[in-house]
Subunit: 212 residues, 2 copies
Amino acid sequence: MERQTPATTAPQRTSLRADARRNRERVLEAADTVFSEFGPAASTEEVARRAGVSIGTVFRHFPTKEALIEAVVIGRLTQLTAEAERLADAVDADADADADADAAFLIFFHRWIELSATKYQFAGALSRSGTDVQEIRNTHPDVGRKLHDAVGVLLTRAQHTGGIRRDVGASEVIALLVGASRAHEHVGLDADQRAHLLSVIIDGLRGSRPAT
Amino acid sequence: MERQTPATTAPQRTSLRADARRNRERVLEAADTVFSEFGPAASTEEVARRAGVSIGTVFRHFPTKEALIEAVVIGRLTQLTAEAERLADAVDADADADADADAAFLIFFHRWIELSATKYQFAGALSRSGTDVQEIRNTHPDVGRKLHDAVGVLLTRAQHTGGIRRDVGASEVIALLVGASRAHEHVGLDADQRAHLLSVIIDGLRGSRPAT
DNA sequence: TATTAAGCGGAGTCCCCACTCATATTATTG
DNA sequence: CAATAATATGAGTGGGGACTCCGCTTAATA
C-alpha cells in the first residue's frame, strides 16, 4: 500500500551491471513465454530454468512472483500502446488519411488479436490468482491511460471517416477487443470460423443499425 | 442419462443415504459459489467450510478436486442447455412463432451473459489450472453436444425469420457468447456501457453489411 | 592487477493444500 | 431397538512452490 517507487519495469536509469541488465531481460522474456504457455500458475522455477538463470536471480530482480507477473502484463500493455501509436503516426504521415484511418483501426484490431492469441487470456486468469488487473491499474494508472488514449485516437479518426459507428468509446472498444480475443481462442473453431467471427464483431462496430 | 427408472421399490444405483445425497448437493452448491468467487484456485477446504461439511466428505463425493470442478462446469453447461431448450419449447407453443424466434434468441443471449457474469470467467481460468475444458469435452461429449444442438435450434429459427445473419453457425455463436461474457465482465465499464457493448455485438450478428 | 561490492547460485525453510485413514456417528432395515 | 453398513469427521501426510541466505563469482574501477 505505502509502496514507494522502485518501479518494476521502465526506470533503468539505475546503473545495473551489464550482466544484471541482461539477466533481467532474459527473465522477463522467459516469464512472458512461460506464463503465456502455462498461465500465471506456472512456477517461478520454471521461469528461472527457461531463462537459464537460478531462482535466486529471478527474485533479485522481481521481489515477488506478483511483481514478475505485473511486469509482464505491463510489458504487453505497453507493446499494444506502442502499436496503436505507431499506426496513428503512419496515418499522420500519409496524404490520403481518410481511407487509412479506417484501415489503421482494422489493422490494430487484428494486431491485438494476434498479440493476444493464446497469450492474453492469462490476463483474465490472473484476476483470481493473486494479482489483479485492477490492482495494476491502480499502481500504474499511466499504463492503462496511455493505451486508452492511443486507442481513442485511432477510434476517433476511424469514426470521422464514417467507418466506425460513433456511439462507442475507447473503453468499450477495448472491452470488445478483450472479448474478441477470448472468442477467438475458443476451442473447437477452425481458422475460417475464427476469421469469420472477427468479421461479425467488426460489422457490429461498423454499426448495422444507426442506433440512436 | 441416469433418468429415474421404475420404482420397483429397489432404489437402483442412486442408493445414497439421505444425508449423503443432501451433503453432495451442498458441496456442489458451495463449490459453485466459491469457485465463482475465487476461481478454481480456491482451496477445497474453503468449499468444505462453505458447505458446512468436513473436508473428508468433500473427497468422499468427489475423489479429486478436478472432479469437483468438472462437476461444477458440467452443471453450468447443463443449466445453459436447459435454458435454451426451454426457450425453444416456448416458441413451439406459441402461435406467432416468427416474431418469437428472434426474441427467444435474444433472450438466450442475455440469459447467457447473466448466468456467466462474474462466474464463467473461471471456465477460462481453469484452462490452465489442471482441468481443461477440452478435457471435459472428451470425457463428456454429450454435454457439449447438447448445448451446441440447443443453441443450434434457437439460432436456425432466428435466422429463418431474418433476424440473424445466416452465415454463422452454432459454434461461432457460442464462441461469441463466451467472448461477450468476457467483454461484459471487463473492469472499468459502467452499466450503460455494458449494455451498449452487447447491442454492438448483437448488431454484428444481425448482419450489418450483407458480407458476401 | 588488485580491490570491492553488485550479482549469482542453489540448497534449505516454511507454509499451503490436495488427499488419506482410523475412529466416531448415523440412516436404514428387520 | 439392535445390528450393521454407509457416512462423516478431522488430524495427519506428502509434495510442491514461493521466498531466503550466504558463500562464491565477476563486472567495474582505480
